[in-house]
Amino acid sequence: MLGNTDKSAIGFVIAALVFFFIGGLLTTVVPPLVDKSWSKPFENEDPSKGPTGKLRQYTELELKGRAIYVKEGCWYCHTQQTRTLLADTKRSGWKGVDSPISTPDEFVYDSPHMFGTKRTGPDLSRVGGKYDRQWHRTHFRNPRDLTPGSVMPPFPWIANDDEQFNALVAYIQTLGRAKNWRPDNDYEK
């Protein structure tokens, strides 16, 4: 069949598209049909099955903060996924508690998704509640004041603008909180 596709442009076009669509459809359209957890928001009331909690929609303020996170390209340096690696659960965790692994049902209301690909900075999938507002304010003004050696850019136009700053911090504090993973509820505000 393929032997003659170098002579017939029509035959070529059909074959090239058929090949493409087999893999294309099986890997994009089919998986969400098979795997319902991709679209069902996280909800768990049974502590024996892991952290309890419920994924909720973002508020308007949080969405504004999320838009800033997208616009300023925070996601080129920060991922939002605790992978199925022991080291990830240790690194995304804090104050001695390990982070639960990220699951698709925690991200159902995310668009654009912010999973990220590069960790120039640490993973942020469980950073919600790790630091208080004052810490973030100082950090955005100049990260090196809090963490010498950091290569995170300063964001003075966010730190000095209460509207943007409040929105962004409101968003950051939601990260990873659908799963109520801290036994002592020791989240900062």
């Binding site: 170098d6 090239a16 890997t27 998986p31 098979v34 995310d110 654009p112 136009w157």
Partner: protein, 478 residues
């Protein structure tokens, strides 16, 4: 299929230089000229952005108080500028040159082509404004705002119509490999690009990420790879004046690429919040990618058999064959990183930009630079301004490129190793990479000199040709 007969076809087809000296004069090439000259110019401009973001890793306060020059806004400008301002339009320009020659006819419509080039420039300038201003859709490689996306689709259809119509009116029945790859790029991109830019809008979370990765991976695999290989298949035989080793092998390479590539998107989410079985499929197909890659590379090496001495002073060939070696290496790394054990170390580290630049700069940009150096003097019916300078371009890119790739691999591997030991504080792994980022910056300076000499050489060639045509008849160079 009689291999011998096939090769005979290639001799006349791929090397009409001596055989049909007047054939070239039927081609106007205005479209190709516009595409190539604008893409080389953007290469230079975006090169400045590249250096700026590389510098920000070394001096993080640099330009830090200016919102539209912050890292998070310049990085997408760098990536989109290089991909859609330099590499893709350079490949399109070369396609407008190559396709009519392989079909033995004029480009179907030079007017449509020029309109496409103008529209493309509008898109790039739109991006240069939109991205620093913060209009970013939030998906990698698909940052451009929707109005620009719509223009890209229109430009793509204009390009597609022109090329398909040229092929439909072709004189030679058999289509050479470069034509299949070009046609396939047009077809696949028509679906891949809207998946990453439009289909994602109707999904969320993991489902959306899966579409996004299908796009990102296939932007490289089904846009830049096939159009780049189309050019390599044309220019390697041309620049070395040797027929392609095997037509049949090129078909195997093509159809295995067409089948395997599209399955691999989920290898960007290995260990991540996405179904394990989908990760396994992506891994299996990533390993299978070795088949198309090795067939293609074998074909190129076999073509060069007995011709390697030409590498000493044939500059387009130097770029081409180094590009082939980088292609082989990149596509060896790819399947390796998709293995779960290796992925646990290199994923999310600086290894990945090392890998991405070897593919897009070391391989596909090398092909495009080579093609540009080859066709510009021919289109303007003159000689290259300076062969010595072109040789400098090569060495700047080669040394800068190797410095860039190798330090990022070493650094990235080390970084991943440290991350897997959670007792090392994160910030220590940042500080550990500082020497690596410094070397990357200076390697970037070398590559920028490569870009600058390239731009100067091309512009000087064009200017010289303008002065020459007044005085002499066009020189026919082989």
């Amino acid at each position: 299929m009689p291999e011998q007969g096939q090769r005979q076809v290639q001799v006349t087809r791929a090397t009409p230089i001596g055989a049909v000296p007047l054939a070239d004069s039927i081609h106007e090439d205005t479209t190709a000229k516009w595409f190539l000259l604008s893409s080389v110019t953007y290469f230079f401009i975006v090169g400045i952005i590249a250096l700026t973001i590389a510098a920000k890793f070394v001096w993080p306060q640099l330009l830090g108080s200016v919102a539209y020059l912050t890292y998070g806004r310049l990085r997408p400008l760098h990536v989109n500028g290089m991909l859609f301002g330099w590499l893709l339009p350079a490949d399109l320009g070369l396609a407008y040159y190559v396709v009519p020659r392989l079909c033995g006819v004029k480009l179907w419509s030079e007017k449509l082509g020029i309109a496409t080039a103008v529209l493309w420039n509008v898109i790039v300038l739109g991006a240069v404004y939109a991205l620093p201003a913060g209009y970013n859709k939030g998906w990698e490689y698909a940052e451009l705002p929707l109005p620009l996306v719509a223009l890209v689709v229109v430009a793509w259809v204009m390009f597609g119509i022109n090329i398909f119509a040229t092929v439909a009116t072709r004189k030679y029945e058999q289509m050479y490999v470069s034509l299949w790859y070009t046609l396939a790029t047009i077809l696949w991109t028509t679906f891949v690009y809207p998946t990453g830019n439009v289909a994602v809008l109707f999904t969320t979370g993991t489902n959306q990420a899966n579409l996004n990765w299908m796009y990102v991976h296939n932007a490289v695999g089904l846009i830049f790879t096939p159009i780049g290989l189309a050019m390599a298949y044309y220019f390697i035989p041309k620049a070395s004046n040797t027929p392609l080793y095997s037509h049949k092998l090129s078909m195997i390479g093509f159809w295995s690429l067409a089948f395997v590539y599209v399955w691999t998107g989920a290898h960007h989410m290995i260990h991540g919040p996405i179904s394990q079985w989908l990760q396994t499929i992506a891994i299996a197909f990533s390993v299978m990618l070795l088949i198309p890659v090795w067939t293609v590379v074998y074909n190129f090496f076999a073509t060069m058999k007995g011709q390697w001495h030409q590498l000493r002073d044939n500059i387009p060939l130097k770029f081409l064959m180094s590009g082939v070696v980088f292609y082989l290496l990149t596509c060896f790394q790819g399947p390796m990183h998709s293995l779960r054990s290796v992925n646990a170390i290199v994923s999310k580290t600086d290894w990945i930009p090392g890998h991405a630049h070897m593919a897009l700069l070391g391989c596909f940009s090398f092909f495009a630079i080579s093609g540009t150096y080859y066709v510009v003097p021919r289109m303007f019916k003159t000689k290259l301004h300076s062969d010595a300078l072109a040789n400098w371009t090569f060495w700047f890119f080669m040394i800068g490129g190797l410095g860039f790739f190798v330090t990022l691999w070493l650094g990235g591997f080390w970084q991943g190793w440290q991350w897997n030991n959670p007792s090392i504080p994160f910030i220590d792994t940042v500080k550990a990479l500082k020497p690596v980022w410094t070397v990357r910056f200076f390697s970037g300076v070398l590559m920028f000199l490569g870009i600058a000499t390239f731009l100067f050489n091309i512009l000087a060639t064009v200017v010289n040709s303008g002065q020459q045509t007044a005085r002499t008849a066009p020189a026919v160079t082989a």
